[in-house]
């Protein structure tokens, strides 16, 4: 029974599936990276993702257009991010409290609205999801053609954001500004950088990309909205950023590891291995715990988590 599990076709399918399970957490992690690097804990990602998953589905369902769903997800994520930025940057609240409150707000609001909008429809409401787009030429390459170049457009986008983010953070004045604000807000302020504006912008980026990661789940994975469907992926993205040492390439590597774990547990469930499926479902959570322990006290931006008040 385990033999076909490790055939070439099976491994290609697993790797291809890994790309798809990686994309939503990678999108969220890249977004969170901006927020973290500017000094604001990306602890609200789970909330941004949930809001994006719901708004994305609602937008796509009522308009019949997936891209309108994506736009709705971006807006919903950014709206929540604005609330989070207001409390963590302007009010100077505890970011842990504000972020957790945000997740609770998103969970409650999406659950409430889901029941208000769809309670009467007895049958399952769904959308036609994003389809794989084969990249001409490259998709014909053996093995990697199927794994890397026959994916939906959101997967391409997620991976394209990695070098782009690296370039922005390390090769542009804007990136230097973001990193300065996150390392030493007072010094950045002294040399004339706008700490508040930078942090708001970065948190909004994390809201947009978190929302996009959530929309991936409803529009490219499950084809519908299910309450709490993010299943702590936002918190995993938060852990992935730390495990990836606050660097986009590291975040990609860590996301792939999580994607592989997720794809593997799905595959093992389908294959019917003689292990209770609960233990397979536990796997990504245990992996996150292990990653947090291994990452330990890494190279967090020095001003991460502390609000900056001008005197």
């Amino acid at each position: 029974m385990l033999e076909p599990l490790f055939s070439l076709t099976s491994i290609i399918a697993l790797l291809s599936s890994t790309m798809r399970t990686t994309a939503p957490v990678l999108l969220a992690a890249i977004g969170g990276l901006f927020s973290d690097r500017s000094g604001v804990l990306s602890i609200g990602l789970e909330g941004f993702m949930l809001a994006g998953a719901f708004a994305g589905f609602v937008g796509a369902f009522y308009s019949g257009n997936l891209w309108i769903g994506i736009a709705a997800a971006l807006i919903a994520g950014m709206l929540l991010a604005f609330v989070y930025a207001y409390f963590s940057v302007s009010v100077g609240s505890s970011q842990a409290v504000a972020g957790t409150g945000l997740v609770m707000l998103a969970a409650g609001a999406t659950g409430f609205l889901n029941r208000v909008l769809f309670r009467s429809s007895g049958n399952f409401v769904r959308v036609t999801p994003f389809q794989p787009v084969a990249i001409p030429g490259l998709s014909r390459l053996p093995i990697i053609g199927q794994v890397l170049f026959t994916q939906n457009v959101l997967v391409y986008l997620a991976f394209a954001l990695v070098p782009l983010t690296w370039f922005i953070l390390y090769r542009t004045a804007l990136g230097l500004q973001i990193r300065s604000v996150g390392e030493h807000a007072k010094a950045a302020d002294t040399v004339g950088l706008n700490v508040t504006l930078t942090r708001y912008a970065c948190v909004l980026v994390s809201g947009a990309l978190g929302g996009l990661g959530g929309a991936y789940l409803s529009l490219a994975h499950a084809n519908t909205f299910i309450e709490m469907m993010t299943a702590e992926r936002g918190y995993m993205a938060f852990a992935i950023i730390i495990f990836g040492k606050y660097n986009p390439w590291g975040a990609m590597g860590a996301s792939l590891l999580f994607g592989l774990a997720d794809a593997l547990q799905l595959k093992l469930q389908v294959a019917g291995v003689p292990v209770p499926y609960e233990f397979l479902l536990m796997f990504p959570y245990v992996l996150t715990l292990a990653a947090m322990v291994m990452a330990g006290k890494t190279t967090a931006p020095a001003a991460l988590g502390s609000a900056y008040k001008k005197n």
């Binding site: 602890i43 609330v83 409390f87 009010v91 609240s93 505890s94 842990a96 409290v97 504000a98 972020g99 957790t100 409150g101 945000l102 609770m104 707000l105 969970a107 409650g108 609001a109 659950g111 409430f112 609205l113 029941r115 208000v116 309670r119 299943a231 702590e232 918190y235 938060f238 852990a239 730390i242 209770p276 609960e278 233990f279 479902l281 536990m282 959570y285 245990v286 996150t288 715990l289 947090m292 322990v293 990452a295 330990g296 006290k297």
Partner: protein, 374 residues
């Protein structure tokens, strides 16, 4: 002049109530806006909510029954919060306590209630406490964010329960995904005949007093608070920060675990999936609204119990989804955070108002009070 300190403390206590009351009021107003925007009648909705929570004797006892788990988890989160540990793991710890007694409450037979029940509660405290101590240890030892680790451990706990109720602890006929009913001696006695109000509420109130004494009247409590106000300063003062973080998380988890046990021994008598509708997560709002004060948790857990009971009635009578309660709980958190700014200003103003009357330390004490708000 002799009456002054007394009057001052009454005024101080009254001042403490202003912001939480405003926060709750604001959350209700915002909730009404949400309800109206969703196309329901807000007056009818909130009438149904209030009626469900307080409309009759039996409704009120149901509110008390619902408040009991919030009381335990809220106390737990409040204590962890005192050491600046953000325990979002009360949900998992609650499940671990329930899991322990769902097993022992069936396995241990032949003991009288007055021995068995304390034994089971102690076991639940240990189970929840151990489950809380792990993220505490990981935070103290390697600096792993307790937010992430506790969230992960919640999901792991849910999966463990989901497996165990269909596996080793499934009821003997192997038909329903739930554990066997606990022995009669393990069931908590009912306080008012004809209702579900059980001894758990009294145990919870006793725990609130015990938690208050622990935090404000013991050396351990002082150390936990010192760690919470500043780890570096506490370290300089010779306090073992790591040990206190682990202890605070363990006690926090222990209380949440006891909450799970009390709910199982008092209400459900067995364990099943979705045993907790999020008592551990709501606990964050319960503790925050109470400003991490164990005695105030009694009031805030009552409020949340009323909200939950009322929301169920609201769903039946006004057909407004009960999830509205979750939205309002989250809104409470944000209003508490938002109003804290004004509270700080007010506390400073109060402290600087009559420095001569209030002694030389008054201004400093006022600042401390202002700084202690989450």
């Amino acid at each position: 002049m002799k009456a002054r300190p007394h009057l001052d403390s009454v005024l101080a206590a009254a001042r403490q109530l202003i912001i939480p009351s405003l926060a709750v009021l604001s959350a209700f107003v915002a909730g009404a806006v949400v309800v109206a925007a969703a196309g329901f009648n807000p007056v009818q909705t909130f009438a149904a909510l209030l009626d469900g929570a307080f409309g009759s004797g039996i409704n009120f006892t149901e509110t008390l029954v619902k408040s009991t788990p919030y009381l335990f988890t809220g106390l737990g989160v409040a204590i962890a919060f005192r050491s600046r540990s953000f325990n979002i793991g009360a949900e998992g710890q609650f499940y671990m306590g329930a899991l322990a007694v769902s097993w022992l409450g069936v396995a241990i037979t032949g003991l009288p209630s007055f021995i068995l029940i304390p034994l089971l509660l102690a076991a639940a405290f240990v189970a929840g406490g151990a489950y809380g101590a792990i993220p505490g240890y990981l935070k103290a030892k390697v600096g792993a964010s307790e937010i992430v680790t506790t969230v992960m451990m919640n999901s792991i706990a849910v999966q463990i329960v989901s497996w165990i109720i269909k596996g080793p602890l499934q009821e003997p006929r192997h038909f329903y995904p739930e554990t066997a009913e606990i022995v009669n001696a393990a069931k908590l006695p009912v306080l008012v005949p004809g209702t579900r109000l059980h001894l758990g509420l009294v145990i919870g109130l006793a725990m609130a007093v015990a938690a208050y004494i622990l935090i404000f009247k013991t050396v351990l409590g002082f150390q936990i608070r010192a760690v919470g106000s500043g780890a570096l300063a506490a370290e300089y003062a010779g306090i073992n920060v790591r040990r206190n973080v682990v202890l605070a998380m363990a006690i926090s988890g222990g209380l949440a675990g006891m909450g799970g046990a009390v709910e199982l021994l008092g209400v459900t008598w067995k364990l099943y999936s979705n045993f907790s509708p999020g008592y551990g997560y709501s606990a964050i709002a319960v503790a925050l609204l109470a400003k991490r004060n164990p005695l105030a948790v009694i009031l805030t857990s009552l409020l949340f119990g009323a909200l939950a009971t009322g929301a169920n009635n609201m769903q039946r009578a006004a057909e407004v989804p009960a999830m509205l309660a979750s939205v309002m709980q989250a809104l409470v958190i944000f209003f508490v955070l938002g109003y804290a700014v004004y509270e700080d200003r007010f506390a400073r103003y109060w402290a600087e108002r009559k420095p001569r009357d209030r002694g030389p330390h008054a201004a400093a004490a006022g600042k401390e009070a202002a700084g202690s708000n989450a």
